[in-house]
């Protein structure tokens, strides 16, 4: 379909539904579906809590060392937890045929994908952000460091969901997709990890966090512009 056709159909559909309204609908649908299967949501969160709590058992309970490790541990655990939930992003819709309908829809697929990514982040990323300060207390982090940790996770976890969506779309319906998606996505997430954990370390050593947060924000904007489109292309490749 040419881009002109696309804009035309979007124009006629506008009378009933604006693009933002559509985005809201997609998000609402995915949230309702997630709330019907709450166990899935909780699994990610419990995994996150468990991984973080395992570290002191592995390396010893000295608070000085734990305080130093905390940002890295929380961030790596968040990265792994977000990998865990990626399989659910498209697979249910793929199995029951909804995804095909989304691909055929006259509205731009990138927008529908963006809606799904946002819903996925609200279900799997946002709980991690809210849980992180509690876990930070386990590691005796200062209040200031905790605030920075929340800020970086707020900026960073959407990026993880967005990059992860590309991997999830590429590995759709493959055997061993879960491990494969980690192999594809983890290297691409390294910059987020570096600046996310780096910001917390910077604030504890008395440096400014502005540069770290700006870079994270820049990455988020970059990902917001490109990843929905790339994910849409990947879905088209996978659904051929």
């Amino acid at each position: 379909m040419s881009s002109m056709d696309k804009s035309l159909t979007a124009g006629t559909a506008k009378d009933k539904l604006s693009l933002f309204g559509l985005l809201g609908l997609v998000i609402r649908r995915d949230l309702i579906l997630a709330m019907r299967r709450r166990a899935d949501v909780l699994t990610t969160l419990v995994f996150f809590v468990m991984v973080v709590s395992l570290f002191p058992l592995g390396v010893g309970p000295e608070l000085d060392m734990l305080r130093k490790m905390a940002p890295g541990v929380v961030w790596v655990a968040a990265l792994l937890a977000s990998m865990l939930s990626l399989g659910r992003l498209f697979s249910a819709d793929y199995l029951d045929g909804t995804l095909e309908q989304l691909l055929l829809a006259p509205q731009p697929l990138s927008l529908l994908v963006l809606g799904k990514i946002i819903a996925h982040w609200m279900v799997s990323g946002l709980p991690l952000v809210l849980m992180a300060p509690v876990l930070g207390l386990q590691f005796d982090m200062s209040a200031q460091a905790l605030w920075v940790l929340i800020a970086t996770l707020l900026l960073g976890t959407p990026i993880l969901s967005m990059i992860g969506a590309v991997g999830a779309a590429l590995t759709l319906g493959l055997r061993g997709g879960g491990v494969l998606v980690s192999l594809l996505v983890l290297p691409l997430c390294i910059p987020v990890l570096i600046f996310g954990a780096g910001a917390v370390e910077a604030v504890t050593s008395g440096m400014s966090v502005v540069s770290h947060l700006s870079l994270l924000g820049a990455m988020m904007l970059l990902a917001l512009v490109f990843t929905p489109w790339v994910t849409a292309q990947a879905l088209r490749i996978s659904m051929e």
């Binding site: 493959l174 061993g176 192999l183 594809l184 910059p191 780096g198």
Partner: protein
């Protein structure tokens, strides 16, 4: 004389051309390796500060350069294959990936062997080492994704998209790793900017050419196998001499 370049974008025509080119690149690679290794071991003088251990650089530097270069070439072929839907470009990208991964691995391995006597550690979390490691991971991702999709067309296109996303990400990863490291500490040892001995330059350049011709030869060989595999049900493959005999 106008050459019709598009003629060779068909696997049928390219299969023959690649077969003719392989011996040329393979032999020049063998000769260049012989010359390059001779210069690097017997002609190049012993380094003032690093003594004999520096000679590992003659393998290390060419393989690291090529591991990065091959990723770009691979991403380029993959993008051409994705945009223009040419089968051969995707096959080239697939054929290049194992060589690139091999070079990245050799570069890391030789780097570790050089690092032990020089830095006193097999591995240092230096920006360059870390980004080379991540490059190796990106190669693994490309190969694994391609291998796990049964339908070759889908595999080509999905891997191509991944290669493009990866090549966009490489500079971001490189600079973030660099800033990550410099935030902690400056790198302790650097190559001094002093002029290299002329024999060292010659050895390095010869080895670079040798590695390059090797990767061309091996990728052409590999792409021939891929063509045979993908086109095994066609008439022209059945009529090939090497297939009939």
């Amino acid at each position: 004389m106008a050459i019709n370049w598009f003629k060779y974008s068909a696997p049928t025509a390219f299969y023959g051309l690649a077969g003719k080119l392989v011996p040329w690149f393979a032999w020049s690679s063998a000769i260049l390796f012989a010359i390059g290794l001779y210069i690097s071991f017997f002609v190049a003088p012993t380094d003032a500060t690093q003594s004999e251990a520096y000679r590992i650089m003659f393998i290390h530097v060419p393989t690291s350069i090529l591991s990065m270069f091959i990723y770009l070439v691979m991403a380029f072929y993959a993008a051409v294959g994705l945009v223009f839907n040419t089968r051969l470009s995707s096959m080239m990208a697939t054929a290049l990936a194992p060589t690139g991964a091999l070079f990245a691995f050799i570069s890391l391995w030789t780097g570790a062997m050089w690092g032990k006597p020089m830095w006193g550690a097999w591995w240092v979390w230096d920006a360059r080492l870390t980004s080379e490691l991540i490059l190796l991971f990106l190669y693994f991702g490309f190969i694994a994704l391609h291998a796990s999709i049964d339908d070759p067309r889908r595999a080509d296109r999905a891997a191509a998209l991944l290669a493009i996303v990866g090549s966009v990400n490489v500079p971001i990863i490189y600079f973030s790793v660099k800033w990550w490291n410099t935030l902690h500490q400056g790198s302790t040892i650097k190559f001094s900017g002093t002029s290299m001995h002329i024999a060292m330059q010659q050895a390095l350049f010869t080895m670079l050419l040798a590695c390059w011709t090797y990767s061309v030869a091996i990728s052409l060989l590999r792409v021939r196998s891929i063509v045979l595999e993908r086109e095994r049900n066609t008439q022209w493959v059945a009529e090939l001499e090497e297939v009939r005999s």
